[in-house]
Protein backbone atom coordinates (compact mmCIF):
# COMPACT_ATOMS: atom_id res chain seq x y z
CA UNK A 1 0.00 0.00 0.00
CA UNK A 2 1.38 3.38 -1.06
CA UNK A 3 0.98 4.97 2.37
CA UNK A 4 3.56 2.71 3.90
CA UNK A 5 6.31 3.46 1.36
CA UNK A 6 5.99 7.23 1.05
CA UNK A 7 5.23 10.31 3.05
CA UNK A 8 4.82 14.01 2.39
CA UNK A 9 7.23 16.02 4.50
CA UNK A 10 6.62 19.71 5.09
CA UNK A 11 9.21 22.09 6.52
CA UNK A 12 7.22 25.27 7.14
CA UNK A 13 9.33 28.08 8.58
CA UNK A 14 8.74 31.77 9.33
CA UNK A 15 9.67 32.84 5.81
CA UNK A 16 10.01 29.57 3.90
CA UNK A 17 7.90 26.61 2.79
CA UNK A 18 9.27 23.30 1.58
CA UNK A 19 7.25 20.22 0.67
CA UNK A 20 8.94 16.91 -0.13
CA UNK A 21 7.77 13.54 -1.37
CA UNK A 22 9.92 11.15 0.69
CA UNK A 23 10.59 7.40 0.55
CA UNK A 24 10.11 6.15 4.10
CA UNK A 25 12.57 3.25 3.97
CA UNK A 26 15.68 5.42 3.46
CA UNK A 27 14.46 9.00 3.88
CA UNK A 28 15.32 9.84 0.27
CA UNK A 29 13.66 12.95 -1.19
CA UNK A 30 12.01 12.10 -4.52
CA UNK A 31 10.35 15.40 -5.37
CA UNK A 32 10.28 18.92 -3.97
CA UNK A 33 8.05 21.99 -4.07
CA UNK A 34 9.69 24.94 -2.32
CA UNK A 35 8.26 28.16 -3.64
CA UNK A 36 5.42 28.52 -1.12
CA UNK A 37 4.61 31.12 1.51
CA UNK A 38 6.30 31.23 4.91
CA UNK A 39 4.19 31.20 8.08
CA UNK A 40 4.54 34.94 8.66
CA UNK A 41 3.13 35.85 5.24
CA UNK A 42 0.44 33.16 5.57
CA UNK A 43 -0.67 34.60 8.91
CA UNK A 44 -0.71 38.15 7.54
CA UNK A 45 -2.81 37.03 4.57
CA UNK A 46 -5.19 35.10 6.80
CA UNK A 47 -5.60 38.10 9.14
CA UNK A 48 -7.40 40.06 6.40
CA UNK A 49 -11.19 40.02 6.74
CA UNK A 50 -13.38 37.45 5.02
CA UNK A 51 -11.20 34.37 5.45
CA UNK A 52 -12.32 31.01 6.89
CA UNK A 53 -11.11 29.78 10.31
CA UNK A 54 -7.33 29.77 10.64
CA UNK A 55 -6.73 26.01 10.52
CA UNK A 56 -9.04 25.63 7.53
CA UNK A 57 -7.26 28.50 5.69
CA UNK A 58 -3.83 26.93 6.23
CA UNK A 59 -5.09 23.45 5.28
CA UNK A 60 -6.58 24.72 2.02
CA UNK A 61 -3.22 26.24 1.12
CA UNK A 62 -1.43 23.02 2.06
CA UNK A 63 -3.84 20.97 -0.10
CA UNK A 64 -3.02 23.24 -3.01
CA UNK A 65 0.74 22.77 -2.56
CA UNK A 66 0.26 18.98 -2.26
CA UNK A 67 -1.60 19.15 -5.57
CA UNK A 68 1.43 20.93 -7.10
CA UNK A 69 3.78 18.31 -5.63
CA UNK A 70 1.56 15.61 -7.12
CA UNK A 71 1.79 17.28 -10.56
CA UNK A 72 5.57 17.50 -10.21
CA UNK A 73 5.78 13.85 -9.18
CA UNK A 74 3.43 12.88 -12.02
CA UNK A 75 1.31 10.72 -9.72
CA UNK A 76 -1.59 10.86 -7.31
CA UNK A 77 -0.59 11.32 -3.67
CA UNK A 78 -3.93 10.35 -2.14
CA UNK A 79 -3.63 8.54 1.16
CA UNK A 80 0.00 9.48 1.76
CA UNK A 81 0.44 10.85 5.28
CA UNK A 82 1.69 14.41 5.81
CA UNK A 83 4.21 15.42 8.51
CA UNK A 84 4.80 19.09 9.27
CA UNK A 85 7.63 20.71 11.26
CA UNK A 86 8.52 24.31 12.01
CA UNK A 87 6.58 27.48 12.70
CA UNK A 88 3.32 25.85 11.57
CA UNK A 89 2.77 24.90 15.24
CA UNK A 90 3.45 28.44 16.55
CA UNK A 91 1.06 31.16 17.69
CA UNK A 92 0.99 32.46 14.11
CA UNK A 93 0.85 28.98 12.56
CA UNK A 94 -2.02 26.68 11.58
CA UNK A 95 -2.52 25.42 15.14
CA UNK A 96 -0.51 26.35 18.23
CA UNK A 97 1.05 23.44 20.12
CA UNK A 98 2.82 23.50 23.48
CA UNK A 99 6.58 23.05 23.29
CA UNK A 100 8.36 19.78 24.01
CA UNK A 101 10.61 20.06 27.06
CA UNK A 102 14.29 19.46 27.75
CA UNK A 103 16.04 17.03 28.04
CA UNK A 104 14.92 15.95 24.57
CA UNK A 105 16.05 12.57 23.18
CA UNK A 106 17.45 12.62 19.61
CA UNK A 107 15.07 9.75 18.79
CA UNK A 108 12.27 12.32 18.95
CA UNK A 109 10.19 10.05 21.17
CA UNK A 110 9.38 12.93 23.55
CA UNK A 111 8.27 15.16 20.69
CA UNK A 112 4.90 16.83 21.19
CA UNK A 113 2.68 16.49 18.13
CA UNK A 114 -0.95 16.41 17.20
CA UNK A 115 -2.85 14.56 14.51
CA UNK A 116 -5.21 16.62 12.40
CA UNK A 117 -7.79 14.09 11.28
CA UNK A 118 -9.45 14.51 7.90
CA UNK A 119 -13.07 15.60 7.81
CA UNK A 120 -15.08 15.12 4.62
CA UNK A 121 -12.02 15.39 2.38
CA UNK A 122 -9.82 12.70 0.92
CA UNK A 123 -6.86 14.12 2.85
CA UNK A 124 -4.92 11.64 5.00
CA UNK A 125 -4.12 12.46 8.65
CA UNK A 126 -1.61 15.27 9.17
CA UNK A 127 1.04 14.95 11.89
CA UNK A 128 1.89 18.44 13.13
CA UNK A 129 5.13 18.58 15.16
CA UNK A 130 5.72 21.07 17.92
CA UNK A 131 8.97 22.82 18.83
CA UNK A 132 11.20 22.71 21.86
CA UNK A 133 11.70 25.05 24.79
CA UNK A 134 14.23 25.47 27.56
CA UNK A 135 13.78 27.70 30.59
CA UNK A 136 14.77 30.75 28.50
CA UNK A 137 14.70 29.81 24.85
CA UNK A 138 12.54 28.37 22.09
CA UNK A 139 12.86 26.74 18.68
CA UNK A 140 10.40 25.38 16.14
CA UNK A 141 11.95 23.43 13.29
CA UNK A 142 15.60 23.14 14.28
CA UNK A 143 14.83 20.20 16.61
CA UNK A 144 13.55 18.32 13.52
CA UNK A 145 16.76 19.13 11.65
CA UNK A 146 18.77 17.81 14.58
CA UNK A 147 16.76 14.58 14.69
CA UNK A 148 17.38 14.18 10.94
CA UNK A 149 21.10 14.77 11.38
CA UNK A 150 21.50 12.64 14.50
CA UNK A 151 23.51 9.92 12.67
CA UNK A 152 26.16 12.55 12.06
CA UNK A 153 26.80 13.36 15.71
CA UNK A 154 29.22 10.51 15.98
CA UNK A 155 30.10 10.79 19.61
CA UNK A 156 26.64 12.03 20.47
CA UNK A 157 28.24 14.86 22.39
CA UNK A 158 29.08 18.43 21.49
CA UNK A 159 27.41 21.50 20.08
CA UNK A 160 25.51 21.66 16.80
CA UNK A 161 25.49 25.14 15.26
CA UNK A 162 22.84 26.24 12.78
CA UNK A 163 23.95 29.69 11.53
CA UNK A 164 21.41 32.26 10.38
CA UNK A 165 19.34 35.33 11.23
CA UNK A 166 18.72 33.66 14.59
CA UNK A 167 21.57 31.15 14.93
CA UNK A 168 21.02 28.14 17.17
CA UNK A 169 23.61 26.44 19.37
CA UNK A 170 22.26 23.03 20.35
CA UNK A 171 24.05 21.20 23.14
CA UNK A 172 24.16 17.40 22.87
CA UNK A 173 25.02 14.90 25.57
CA UNK A 174 24.68 11.21 24.93
CA UNK A 175 21.47 10.69 22.95
CA UNK A 176 19.92 13.89 24.17
CA UNK A 177 19.54 17.62 23.53
CA UNK A 178 20.30 19.05 26.96
CA UNK A 179 20.21 22.79 26.19
CA UNK A 180 20.23 25.33 23.39
CA UNK A 181 20.78 29.06 22.84
CA UNK A 182 19.48 31.35 20.12
CA UNK A 183 21.86 34.09 18.94
CA UNK A 184 20.33 37.06 17.12
CA UNK A 185 23.51 37.40 15.03
CA UNK A 186 22.01 37.97 11.59
CA UNK A 187 19.31 40.27 12.90
CA UNK A 188 21.88 42.38 14.79
CA UNK A 189 23.85 42.73 11.55
CA UNK A 190 20.73 43.96 9.76
CA UNK A 191 19.80 46.35 12.60
CA UNK A 192 23.27 47.86 12.86
CA UNK A 193 23.77 48.24 9.13
CA UNK A 194 20.30 49.64 8.37
CA UNK A 195 19.20 51.64 11.40
CA UNK A 196 22.21 52.63 13.53
CA UNK A 197 24.84 55.36 13.52
CA UNK A 198 27.10 52.79 11.81
CA UNK A 199 24.97 52.89 8.64
CA UNK A 200 27.07 55.58 6.97
CA UNK A 201 30.27 53.64 7.63
CA UNK A 202 29.01 50.55 5.74
CA UNK A 203 28.34 49.94 2.05
CA UNK A 204 24.85 50.46 0.70
CA UNK A 205 23.18 47.53 -1.01
CA UNK A 206 24.81 44.28 -1.97
CA UNK A 207 27.34 42.15 -0.10
CA UNK A 208 30.95 43.04 -1.02
CA UNK A 209 33.43 40.31 -2.04
CA UNK A 210 34.91 38.32 0.86
CA UNK A 211 37.75 39.94 2.79
CA UNK A 212 39.31 37.41 5.20
CA UNK A 213 41.78 39.93 6.66
CA UNK A 214 39.23 42.40 8.00
CA UNK A 215 36.82 39.62 8.94
CA UNK A 216 39.59 38.09 11.08
CA UNK A 217 40.31 41.50 12.63
CA UNK A 218 36.65 41.64 13.70
CA UNK A 219 36.70 38.13 15.19
CA UNK A 220 39.81 38.96 17.19
CA UNK A 221 38.30 42.21 18.51
CA UNK A 222 35.19 40.27 19.55
CA UNK A 223 37.36 37.98 21.68
CA UNK A 224 38.49 40.90 23.81
CA UNK A 225 35.48 43.13 24.39
CA UNK A 226 31.69 43.36 24.32
CA UNK A 227 29.84 43.93 21.07
CA UNK A 228 28.42 47.10 22.66
CA UNK A 229 31.84 48.70 22.33
CA UNK A 230 33.46 46.82 19.45
CA UNK A 231 30.53 47.68 17.17
CA UNK A 232 31.37 51.38 17.64
CA UNK A 233 34.72 50.62 15.97
CA UNK A 234 32.85 50.41 12.66
CA UNK A 235 32.28 54.14 13.00
CA UNK A 236 35.75 54.97 14.30
CA UNK A 237 37.37 52.84 11.58
CA UNK A 238 35.83 55.33 9.17
CA UNK A 239 36.45 58.49 11.25
CA UNK A 240 40.10 57.56 11.77
CA UNK A 241 40.46 56.60 8.08
CA UNK A 242 41.42 53.04 8.97
CA UNK A 243 38.78 51.03 7.03
CA UNK A 244 36.51 51.74 4.08
CA UNK A 245 32.83 50.69 3.94
CA UNK A 246 33.50 47.28 2.32
CA UNK A 247 36.24 46.39 4.80
CA UNK A 248 33.96 47.57 7.60
CA UNK A 249 31.23 45.21 6.34
CA UNK A 250 33.51 42.23 6.93
CA UNK A 251 34.88 43.67 10.16
CA UNK A 252 31.32 43.93 11.55
CA UNK A 253 30.55 40.44 10.29
CA UNK A 254 33.66 39.21 12.16
CA UNK A 255 32.59 41.06 15.32
CA UNK A 256 29.14 39.48 15.29
CA UNK A 257 30.13 35.92 14.40
CA UNK A 258 33.07 36.16 16.80
CA UNK A 259 30.77 37.38 19.59
CA UNK A 260 28.43 34.47 18.92
CA UNK A 261 31.11 31.79 18.84
CA UNK A 262 33.43 32.99 21.59
CA UNK A 263 31.14 31.49 24.23
CA UNK A 264 31.35 27.94 22.87
CA UNK A 265 32.69 25.42 25.35
CA UNK A 266 36.16 24.18 24.47
CA UNK A 267 37.20 20.55 24.21
CA UNK A 268 33.92 19.26 22.77
CA UNK A 269 33.09 18.58 19.11
CA UNK A 270 31.40 21.39 17.20
CA UNK A 271 29.10 20.39 14.32
CA UNK A 272 28.72 23.27 11.90
CA UNK A 273 25.47 22.49 10.10
CA UNK A 274 25.22 23.97 6.61
CA UNK A 275 25.12 27.73 6.81
CA UNK A 276 25.06 28.51 3.07
CA UNK A 277 27.21 31.58 2.42
CA UNK A 278 27.84 31.79 6.18
CA UNK A 279 29.69 28.46 6.22
CA UNK A 280 33.08 29.84 5.24
CA UNK A 281 33.07 32.78 7.71
CA UNK A 282 31.84 30.49 10.53
CA UNK A 283 34.61 27.98 9.79
CA UNK A 284 37.17 30.76 9.70
CA UNK A 285 35.91 32.29 12.96
CA UNK A 286 36.04 28.92 14.74
CA UNK A 287 39.63 28.52 13.55
CA UNK A 288 40.62 32.01 14.76
CA UNK A 289 39.00 31.32 18.12
CA UNK A 290 41.15 28.19 18.43
CA UNK A 291 38.23 25.74 18.28
CA UNK A 292 39.73 22.70 16.59
CA UNK A 293 37.25 19.84 16.84
CA UNK A 294 34.99 21.10 14.07
CA UNK A 295 32.98 18.94 11.70
CA UNK A 296 31.15 20.58 8.82
CA UNK A 297 27.85 18.98 7.83
CA UNK A 298 27.10 20.04 4.26
CA UNK A 299 24.19 22.24 3.21
CA UNK A 300 22.57 19.43 1.15
CA UNK A 301 22.51 17.17 4.16
CA UNK A 302 21.04 19.88 6.39
CA UNK A 303 18.47 20.72 3.71
CA UNK A 304 17.20 17.11 3.69
CA UNK A 305 17.31 16.66 7.45
CA UNK A 306 13.67 17.43 8.25
CA UNK A 307 12.49 14.95 5.62
CA UNK A 308 14.81 12.28 7.10
CA UNK A 309 13.48 13.06 10.59
CA UNK A 310 9.93 12.59 9.35
CA UNK A 311 10.84 9.27 7.68
CA UNK A 312 12.56 8.08 10.87
CA UNK A 313 9.51 8.99 12.95
CA UNK A 314 7.20 7.20 10.52
CA UNK A 315 9.33 4.06 10.53
CA UNK A 316 9.26 3.96 14.33
CA UNK A 317 5.59 4.82 14.73
Amino acid sequence: MIATDYLISCDWGTSSFRLYLVRVSDGKILHLVDNGLGIKEMYTNWSKPGNPARLEYFLEYLDFRIYLLSKKAGRKLDGIPVLISGMASSSIGMLELPYSQLPFPLSGRKLEYTIIEPDATQRPPIYLWSGLCSEHDVMRGEESQIIGLSDRFASRAGVAILPGTHSKHIFLEGETIVDFHTYMTGEFFALLSSHSILKNSLPEGKVPPADPVYFAKGVRAAKELSLLTTSFHVRTNELLHQLGPEQNFHYLSGLLIGSELRELPTGVPVYLCGGGRLRVPYERALEILGIRQVEVIGADEVEGAVARAHALFWRNL
Copy 2:
Protein backbone atom coordinates in the same frame (compact mmCIF):
# COMPACT_ATOMS: atom_id res chain seq x y z
CA MET B 1 39.36 94.37 32.47
CA ILE B 2 36.22 92.31 32.03
CA ALA B 3 37.90 89.70 29.78
CA THR B 4 40.12 88.49 32.59
CA ASP B 5 37.24 87.85 35.04
CA TYR B 6 34.73 86.14 32.75
CA LEU B 7 34.49 83.80 29.83
CA ILE B 8 31.74 82.42 27.65
CA SER B 9 31.76 78.64 27.74
CA CYS B 10 30.02 76.66 25.02
CA ASP B 11 29.26 72.94 25.24
CA TRP B 12 28.08 72.10 21.72
CA GLY B 13 27.12 68.44 21.33
CA THR B 14 25.52 66.36 18.58
CA SER B 15 22.00 67.17 19.75
CA SER B 16 22.51 69.82 22.43
CA PHE B 17 23.80 73.37 22.79
CA ARG B 18 24.68 75.03 26.08
CA LEU B 19 26.20 78.45 26.54
CA TYR B 20 27.38 79.69 29.93
CA LEU B 21 28.68 82.94 31.31
CA VAL B 22 31.41 81.78 33.69
CA ARG B 23 33.53 83.50 36.35
CA VAL B 24 37.11 82.48 35.61
CA SER B 25 38.43 82.60 39.17
CA ASP B 26 36.21 79.79 40.50
CA GLY B 27 34.51 78.35 37.41
CA LYS B 28 31.08 79.41 38.70
CA ILE B 29 28.28 79.53 36.12
CA LEU B 30 26.51 82.91 36.31
CA HIS B 31 24.05 82.58 33.42
CA LEU B 32 22.97 79.92 30.98
CA VAL B 33 21.34 79.66 27.55
CA ASP B 34 20.63 76.06 26.63
CA ASN B 35 17.82 75.91 24.12
CA GLY B 36 19.95 76.08 20.96
CA LEU B 37 20.52 73.65 18.11
CA GLY B 38 22.81 70.64 18.33
CA ILE B 39 25.60 70.20 15.76
CA LYS B 40 23.67 67.61 13.77
CA GLU B 41 20.71 69.90 13.20
CA MET B 42 23.02 72.84 12.52
CA TYR B 43 24.87 70.86 9.86
CA THR B 44 21.64 69.72 8.23
CA ASN B 45 20.35 73.30 8.15
CA TRP B 46 23.62 74.59 6.73
CA SER B 47 23.62 71.88 4.01
CA LYS B 48 20.58 73.48 2.37
CA PRO B 49 21.44 75.64 -0.62
CA GLY B 50 22.03 79.37 -0.35
CA ASN B 51 23.92 79.49 2.93
CA PRO B 52 27.28 81.19 3.52
CA ALA B 53 30.49 79.20 4.12
CA ARG B 54 30.18 76.68 6.94
CA LEU B 55 32.33 78.43 9.55
CA GLU B 56 30.61 81.74 8.88
CA TYR B 57 27.16 80.09 9.20
CA PHE B 58 28.03 78.53 12.56
CA LEU B 59 29.63 81.76 13.83
CA GLU B 60 26.56 83.82 12.95
CA TYR B 61 24.42 81.41 14.95
CA LEU B 62 26.86 81.53 17.86
CA ASP B 63 26.84 85.35 17.79
CA PHE B 64 23.06 85.25 18.04
CA ARG B 65 23.13 82.90 21.05
CA ILE B 66 25.77 85.11 22.72
CA TYR B 67 23.41 88.04 22.19
CA LEU B 68 20.67 86.03 23.96
CA LEU B 69 23.05 85.21 26.81
CA SER B 70 23.92 88.90 27.07
CA LYS B 71 20.21 89.76 27.34
CA LYS B 72 19.75 87.10 30.01
CA ALA B 73 22.77 88.42 31.93
CA GLY B 74 21.53 91.99 31.49
CA ARG B 75 24.94 93.19 30.38
CA LYS B 76 27.16 93.54 27.34
CA LEU B 77 29.55 90.64 26.79
CA ASP B 78 31.85 92.41 24.31
CA GLY B 79 35.45 91.36 24.56
CA ILE B 80 34.79 88.24 26.66
CA PRO B 81 36.60 85.25 25.17
CA VAL B 82 34.60 82.21 23.99
CA LEU B 83 35.67 78.59 24.56
CA ILE B 84 33.90 75.78 22.72
CA SER B 85 34.01 72.01 23.38
CA GLY B 86 32.24 69.08 21.82
CA MET B 87 31.10 68.15 18.33
CA ALA B 88 31.71 71.69 17.06
CA SER B 89 35.21 70.49 16.08
CA SER B 90 33.95 67.41 14.22
CA SER B 91 33.50 66.75 10.50
CA ILE B 92 29.95 68.09 10.79
CA GLY B 93 30.92 70.96 13.11
CA MET B 94 32.03 74.54 12.49
CA LEU B 95 35.62 73.56 11.75
CA GLU B 96 37.13 70.06 11.84
CA LEU B 97 40.15 69.64 14.12
CA PRO B 98 42.44 66.60 14.44
CA TYR B 99 42.01 64.62 17.65
CA SER B 100 44.32 64.93 20.65
CA GLN B 101 46.15 61.69 21.32
CA LEU B 102 46.50 59.35 24.29
CA PRO B 103 47.96 59.43 26.91
CA PHE B 104 46.11 62.65 27.69
CA PRO B 105 46.97 64.59 30.89
CA LEU B 106 43.99 65.71 32.99
CA SER B 107 45.47 69.20 33.03
CA GLY B 108 44.42 69.42 29.38
CA ARG B 109 47.85 70.74 28.38
CA LYS B 110 48.03 68.31 25.43
CA LEU B 111 44.61 69.38 24.17
CA GLU B 112 44.47 70.27 20.49
CA TYR B 113 42.65 73.54 19.88
CA THR B 114 42.54 76.37 17.41
CA ILE B 115 41.90 80.07 17.80
CA ILE B 116 39.36 81.59 15.46
CA GLU B 117 40.43 85.20 15.22
CA PRO B 118 37.81 87.88 14.72
CA ASP B 119 37.61 89.55 11.32
CA ALA B 120 35.79 92.87 11.00
CA THR B 121 33.41 92.08 13.88
CA GLN B 122 33.60 93.01 17.53
CA ARG B 123 33.79 89.32 18.44
CA PRO B 124 36.68 88.28 20.70
CA PRO B 125 38.87 85.30 19.77
CA ILE B 126 37.16 81.91 19.97
CA TYR B 127 39.05 78.92 21.36
CA LEU B 128 37.71 75.77 19.68
CA TRP B 129 38.70 72.55 21.47
CA SER B 130 39.21 69.26 19.71
CA GLY B 131 38.34 65.77 20.94
CA LEU B 132 40.41 62.76 21.84
CA CYS B 133 41.15 59.51 20.04
CA SER B 134 42.66 56.17 20.91
CA GLU B 135 43.68 53.52 18.40
CA HIS B 136 40.02 52.41 18.06
CA ASP B 137 37.81 55.02 19.64
CA VAL B 138 36.91 58.70 19.60
CA MET B 139 35.22 61.31 21.78
CA ARG B 140 34.47 65.00 21.41
CA GLY B 141 33.25 66.70 24.57
CA GLU B 142 33.65 64.05 27.24
CA GLU B 143 37.38 64.84 27.62
CA SER B 144 36.32 68.40 28.61
CA GLN B 145 33.90 67.01 31.18
CA ILE B 146 36.67 64.86 32.60
CA ILE B 147 39.06 67.82 32.83
CA GLY B 148 36.32 69.74 34.65
CA LEU B 149 35.73 66.87 37.06
CA SER B 150 39.39 66.04 37.63
CA ASP B 151 39.35 67.33 41.25
CA ARG B 152 36.85 64.58 42.01
CA PHE B 153 39.08 61.70 40.95
CA ALA B 154 40.70 61.63 44.36
CA SER B 155 43.18 58.87 43.78
CA ARG B 156 43.60 59.85 40.16
CA ALA B 157 43.10 56.23 39.22
CA GLY B 158 40.07 54.25 38.13
CA VAL B 159 37.34 54.41 35.54
CA ALA B 160 34.99 57.33 34.97
CA ILE B 161 31.66 56.30 33.46
CA LEU B 162 29.47 58.72 31.54
CA PRO B 163 26.20 56.84 30.83
CA GLY B 164 24.14 57.64 27.76
CA THR B 165 23.21 56.76 24.18
CA HIS B 166 26.92 56.17 23.64
CA SER B 167 28.30 55.60 27.15
CA LYS B 168 31.96 56.34 27.75
CA HIS B 169 34.32 54.44 30.06
CA ILE B 170 37.38 56.60 30.63
CA PHE B 171 40.40 54.92 32.20
CA LEU B 172 42.51 57.09 34.50
CA GLU B 173 46.01 56.44 35.78
CA GLY B 174 47.87 59.05 37.78
CA GLU B 175 47.11 62.40 36.19
CA THR B 176 46.32 60.92 32.83
CA ILE B 177 43.58 59.45 30.61
CA VAL B 178 45.23 56.27 29.37
CA ASP B 179 42.35 54.71 27.43
CA PHE B 180 38.61 54.88 26.86
CA HIS B 181 35.80 52.80 25.34
CA THR B 182 32.50 53.88 23.87
CA TYR B 183 29.53 51.56 24.52
CA MET B 184 26.51 51.89 22.21
CA THR B 185 24.21 50.91 25.09
CA GLY B 186 21.44 53.46 24.65
CA GLU B 187 21.44 53.13 20.87
CA PHE B 188 21.19 49.32 21.11
CA PHE B 189 18.19 49.74 23.40
CA ALA B 190 16.52 51.99 20.83
CA LEU B 191 17.37 49.67 17.92
CA LEU B 192 16.11 46.55 19.66
CA SER B 193 12.93 48.12 20.95
CA SER B 194 12.00 49.92 17.72
CA HIS B 195 13.28 47.80 14.84
CA SER B 196 13.84 44.21 15.96
CA ILE B 197 11.74 41.09 16.47
CA LEU B 198 11.67 42.07 20.18
CA LYS B 199 9.49 45.12 19.42
CA ASN B 200 6.22 43.27 20.02
CA SER B 201 7.45 41.99 23.39
CA LEU B 202 8.09 45.51 24.72
CA PRO B 203 5.72 48.34 25.64
CA GLU B 204 4.88 50.97 23.07
CA GLY B 205 5.64 54.57 23.93
CA LYS B 206 6.66 55.88 27.30
CA VAL B 207 9.02 54.45 29.90
CA PRO B 208 7.21 52.24 32.45
CA PRO B 209 7.74 52.77 36.20
CA ALA B 210 10.98 51.32 37.60
CA ASP B 211 11.04 47.59 38.31
CA PRO B 212 14.22 46.68 40.22
CA VAL B 213 13.41 42.93 40.27
CA TYR B 214 13.31 42.40 36.51
CA PHE B 215 16.12 44.89 35.94
CA ALA B 216 18.28 42.83 38.30
CA LYS B 217 17.29 39.63 36.46
CA GLY B 218 18.58 41.23 33.25
CA VAL B 219 21.88 42.28 34.82
CA ARG B 220 22.44 38.75 36.16
CA ALA B 221 21.68 37.17 32.76
CA ALA B 222 24.15 39.58 31.15
CA LYS B 223 26.89 38.29 33.46
CA GLU B 224 26.55 34.79 32.05
CA LEU B 225 26.08 35.11 28.31
CA SER B 226 26.46 37.37 25.27
CA LEU B 227 23.88 40.02 24.50
CA LEU B 228 23.35 38.27 21.14
CA THR B 229 21.59 35.46 22.98
CA THR B 230 20.29 37.12 26.15
CA SER B 231 18.45 39.74 24.08
CA PHE B 232 16.39 36.92 22.51
CA HIS B 233 15.06 36.20 26.03
CA VAL B 234 12.93 39.32 25.69
CA ARG B 235 10.97 37.44 23.05
CA THR B 236 10.92 34.12 24.87
CA ASN B 237 9.91 35.81 28.13
CA GLU B 238 6.74 36.75 26.26
CA LEU B 239 6.28 33.46 24.35
CA LEU B 240 6.72 31.44 27.53
CA HIS B 241 4.41 33.80 29.45
CA GLN B 242 7.16 34.68 31.94
CA LEU B 243 7.30 38.49 31.61
CA GLY B 244 4.92 41.15 30.34
CA PRO B 245 6.03 44.08 28.13
CA GLU B 246 6.79 46.45 31.04
CA GLN B 247 8.83 43.85 32.92
CA ASN B 248 10.62 43.05 29.65
CA PHE B 249 11.51 46.73 29.25
CA HIS B 250 13.46 46.64 32.52
CA TYR B 251 14.85 43.18 31.79
CA LEU B 252 16.30 44.46 28.49
CA SER B 253 17.61 47.56 30.24
CA GLY B 254 19.34 45.27 32.76
CA LEU B 255 20.80 43.13 29.96
CA LEU B 256 22.27 46.14 28.19
CA ILE B 257 23.62 47.98 31.22
CA GLY B 258 24.89 44.68 32.64
CA SER B 259 26.64 43.87 29.34
CA GLU B 260 28.27 47.28 29.38
CA LEU B 261 29.46 47.14 32.97
CA ARG B 262 30.49 43.51 33.27
CA GLU B 263 33.81 44.28 31.55
CA LEU B 264 34.91 46.85 34.13
CA PRO B 265 38.18 46.01 35.83
CA THR B 266 37.75 45.05 39.47
CA GLY B 267 39.62 46.55 42.38
CA VAL B 268 39.81 50.10 41.02
CA PRO B 269 37.52 53.02 41.86
CA VAL B 270 34.57 53.61 39.55
CA TYR B 271 33.31 57.19 39.20
CA LEU B 272 29.72 57.21 37.99
CA CYS B 273 29.31 60.66 36.47
CA GLY B 274 25.74 61.95 36.49
CA GLY B 275 23.59 59.85 34.22
CA GLY B 276 20.22 61.55 34.87
CA ARG B 277 17.51 58.90 34.99
CA LEU B 278 20.19 56.29 34.24
CA ARG B 279 21.99 56.96 37.53
CA VAL B 280 19.86 54.65 39.66
CA PRO B 281 19.98 51.65 37.27
CA TYR B 282 23.73 52.09 36.76
CA GLU B 283 24.31 52.18 40.52
CA ARG B 284 22.12 49.11 40.97
CA ALA B 285 23.89 47.21 38.17
CA LEU B 286 27.32 47.99 39.63
CA GLU B 287 26.12 46.65 42.98
CA ILE B 288 24.73 43.44 41.41
CA LEU B 289 28.01 42.93 39.54
CA GLY B 290 29.86 43.15 42.86
CA ILE B 291 31.69 46.39 42.05
CA ARG B 292 32.03 48.09 45.41
CA GLN B 293 34.38 51.06 45.03
CA VAL B 294 31.79 53.31 43.40
CA GLU B 295 31.60 57.06 43.78
CA VAL B 296 28.65 58.91 42.30
CA ILE B 297 29.37 62.38 40.97
CA GLY B 298 26.07 64.26 40.85
CA ALA B 299 24.35 65.45 37.68
CA ASP B 300 24.74 69.14 38.62
CA GLU B 301 28.46 68.75 38.96
CA VAL B 302 28.74 66.91 35.64
CA GLU B 303 26.54 69.54 33.99
CA GLY B 304 28.93 72.32 35.03
CA ALA B 305 32.11 70.37 34.25
CA VAL B 306 32.79 71.77 30.77
CA ALA B 307 32.49 75.35 32.05
CA ARG B 308 34.90 74.53 34.89
CA ALA B 309 37.33 72.96 32.40
CA HIS B 310 37.20 76.11 30.29
CA ALA B 311 37.83 78.30 33.34
CA LEU B 312 40.76 76.10 34.37
CA PHE B 313 42.26 76.34 30.90
CA TRP B 314 41.86 80.09 30.86
CA ARG B 315 43.49 80.52 34.26
CA ASN B 316 46.48 78.46 33.12
CA LEU B 317 46.82 80.05 29.68
